[in-house]
């Protein structure tokens, strides 16, 4: 049964757009896009490289693609790779000196947090081009469906686009998990000096995984933009989104392949349920705006205290008979 499970899920995933109504389909697409971003973050997060700057990479992915399209008429087929390269360069510029000077732990988290603020503020400050805090809308191409513009009026088509992107994200996660680099990074996260002495290229290994993570996050940002056709500096960037990325992964599970996806499913469904609840209560005159994030915040605190491995991580440990339990 466990062996066939991936195939069953695969068939179900392909069948989804043919059976699901529009609203659940929209939710699934959002879950897949965010899962890609969360998986990208967990690529480096699982090795103790806690970045609070992934909002920056997501914004870069979305804004570079959209700005090239609106102002240069450059197709996202070129714009998305360009955005991914921009994110890689940005990651390199910030991460290389960080790793060279051994900026780790708190310091790394706060430097990357500064990065996400810089990108957000630059977007707001360049309001004549980017629309500032009010957000930005990529121009529709004709009827709304265009292969060149990667715009699809039908959600069904877009579903397959993001499904493939998500699948690629998971494959990359697995490739990293099975590579020699994983052992190198694991040992680096334990003790940098000792692994350097053992012949591990500390800076190069950390840099590779960071750039890979940034590139995938930018892809997620670009897909978000192509799908929602609206982006804003706070919608896909800044400290809020950067923290949201970290939290969803923590909730789902940091050390397993499907953990970030589970995190996306749980957090997005929860947000939706609360949003509907708040909307229905508002029609009865009860204003509970903020209830969703209140519960969300509380849940995250409890998760970090009681379930630091996340839901999936904990479940796998339990199933394995608690053999591999360790503190972490």
């Amino acid at each position: 049964m466990m062996k066939q499970l991936p195939y069953i899920i695969g068939v179900l995933l392909i069948a989804v757009p043919f059976v699901a109504p529009q609203y659940p389909l929209h939710l699934i697409i959002m879950i897949l896009i965010w899962s890609l971003v969360y998986t990208a973050w967990s690529l480096m997060g699982r090795f103790g490289l806690v970045s609070l700057g992934h909002g920056a990479f997501m914004s870069i992915g979305a804004y570079v693609t959209a700005l090239l399209w609106n102002y240069g008429g450059i197709s996202p087929w070129i714009g998305i790779p360009a955005a991914m390269i921009t994110a890689a360069i940005m990651a390199f510029l910030v991460a290389y000196p960080c790793f060279q000077f051994k900026i780790v732990g708190h310091y790394f988290a706060l430097v990357t947090l500064a990065l996400s603020e810089v990108v957000k503020l630059v977007i707001i400050a360049c309001r004549d081009t980017t629309g500032g805090s009010l957000g930005f809308t990529p121009e529709r191409h004709g009827e709304g469906t265009s292969i060149v513009a990667i715009q699809f009026a039908d959600k069904e088509v877009f579903y397959f686009v993001v499904l493939i992107a998500w699948g690629i994200g998971l494959l990359i996660w697995r490739a990293v998990d099975r590579s020699m680099m994983r052992f190198a990074l694991d040992s680096i996260s334990e003790d940098e000096d000792a692994s350097a002495a053992a012949g591990v290229h500390v800076t190069a290994s950390k840099l590779k995984i960071t750039m890979l993570s940034a590139v995938l996050t930018a892809l997620g940002g670009a897909l978000y933009c192509q799908y929602q056709m609206f982006i804003g500096p706070e919608v896909i960037g800044g400290i809020g989104i950067s923290l949201q990325i970290v939290f969803a992964v923590v909730v789902g599970g940091l050390y397993t392949m499907m953990g970030p996806t589970i995190g996306a499913i749980i957090t997005l469904l929860m947000t939706e349920v609360f949003r509907n609840l708040i909307t229905s209560l508002r029609t009865q005159g009860i204003d509970l705006a903020g209830l969703d994030t209140t519960v969300y915040g509380l849940m995250l605190i409890l998760f970090i205290i009681f379930l630091p491995k996340g839901i999936l991580g904990e479940a796998i440990d339990r199933l394995a008979g608690g053999k591999k339990r360790d503190t972490g």
Binding site: V50, F101, L110, F247, L291, T293, T294, I301, I305
Partner: protein
């Protein structure tokens, strides 16, 4: 033409220094906590937000005398700080520091949205407008001058507390060596509690000063939270003097940088300056190698 230009520059410079006072106060609180407990409270600016709301409700709505309201706000935020430590940090003291940082990040979401839930996203202010001081064609608000003065006094008080009292000495000692001090018979739990109280109190004091100048809303913390972390890291996390110097450098960059175009560029300049400085002096401005 030149003269007017210089006056604007001087005005921005002085306003920058005045703004730096409150930032220095905030970074002192954060540094104090980091130095002792080894945790960065990502939600620190949200504690300030609660202090600002306390001031708004007490002084603005219920007409409590403003000084009394300030004392209440400082006390309340100090207690909130203690709760943060006891309820969130203490249970996970043994896990990796980054988990503690993330737990306070969860609290950031919680406090922001709890404020939204309770007070709605409306912008509120005390309705108190302090006069503007005119000096040589330059304009400074009394609120800023007052904030600057009180912040300096507050920092001096903390300095005296750390150097002249027994518990202050214990705080300094424990921030130098956490393990050995426990062996020396320092009650680390008590030191943690006092630190959290003082750290919260400083956030409360900053709230009293900020509410005179800015409107309060649930997301007000975002406007000075990130800059406070940056100041602490630039000064060297846990290094209080470094944080003090860094606060003024960054506030001047923001104020003068914002002079030539939009305010955001001042912040962008400050953040870029910070990232560049991290590469030149990763241990912080005054940190030791």
């Amino acid at each position: 033409m030149d003269e007017i230009f210089d006056i604007f520059l001087l005005e921005a410079l002085i306003n920058g220094i005045l703004f730096g006072g409150v930032l220095a106060l905030l970074s002192l609180g954060l540094n104090l906590i980091f130095g002792v407990v080894d945790v960065v409270w990502i939600c620190y600016a949200e504690l300030v937000m609660f202090g600002m709301y306390t001031m708004y409700w007490l002084a603005g709505v219920y007409d409590v005398p403003i000084l009394l309201a300030a004392v209440a706000a400082i006390g309340l935020v100090a207690i909130l700080g203690l709760l943060v430590h006891v309820l969130i940090i203490a249970p996970i003291l043994g896990s990796p520091p980054i988990n503690q940082l993330l737990a306070t990040g969860g609290l950031l979401f919680f406090l922001q949205s709890a404020a939204t839930l309770m007070f709605s996203i409306e912008f509120r202010n005390l309705g108190l407008r302090l006069p503007i001081l005119e000096f040589n064609e330059m304009y400074f608000s009394y609120a800023r001058l007052l904030a600057f003065g009180v912040a300096l006094v507050g920092m001096a008080a903390v300095y005296l507390f750390l150097t002249r009292t027994y518990i202050g000495a214990a705080i300094r000692a424990i921030s130098q060596d956490r393990e050995v001090m426990v062996l020396m018979g320092v009650d680390s739990k008590k030191v943690y509690w006092v630190t959290a109280l003082v750290g919260g109190g400083l956030a409360g004091l900053a709230a009293c000063l900020l509410v005179l100048q800015y409107d309060v809303h649930p997301f007000v913390g975002i406007s000075f939270g990130p800059i406070t972390f940056i100041i602490c890291v630039l000064g060297g996390l846990g290094n209080m003097i470094g944080g003090f110097v860094a606060a003024f450098i960054l506030s001047i960059i923001i104020s003068v940088g914002g002079l030539y175009s939009e305010m955001e560029w001042g912040y962008v300049l400050a953040f870029v300056f910070f990232i560049v400085m991290m590469f030149i002096r990763p241990q912080g401005l005054l940190g030791k190698k």
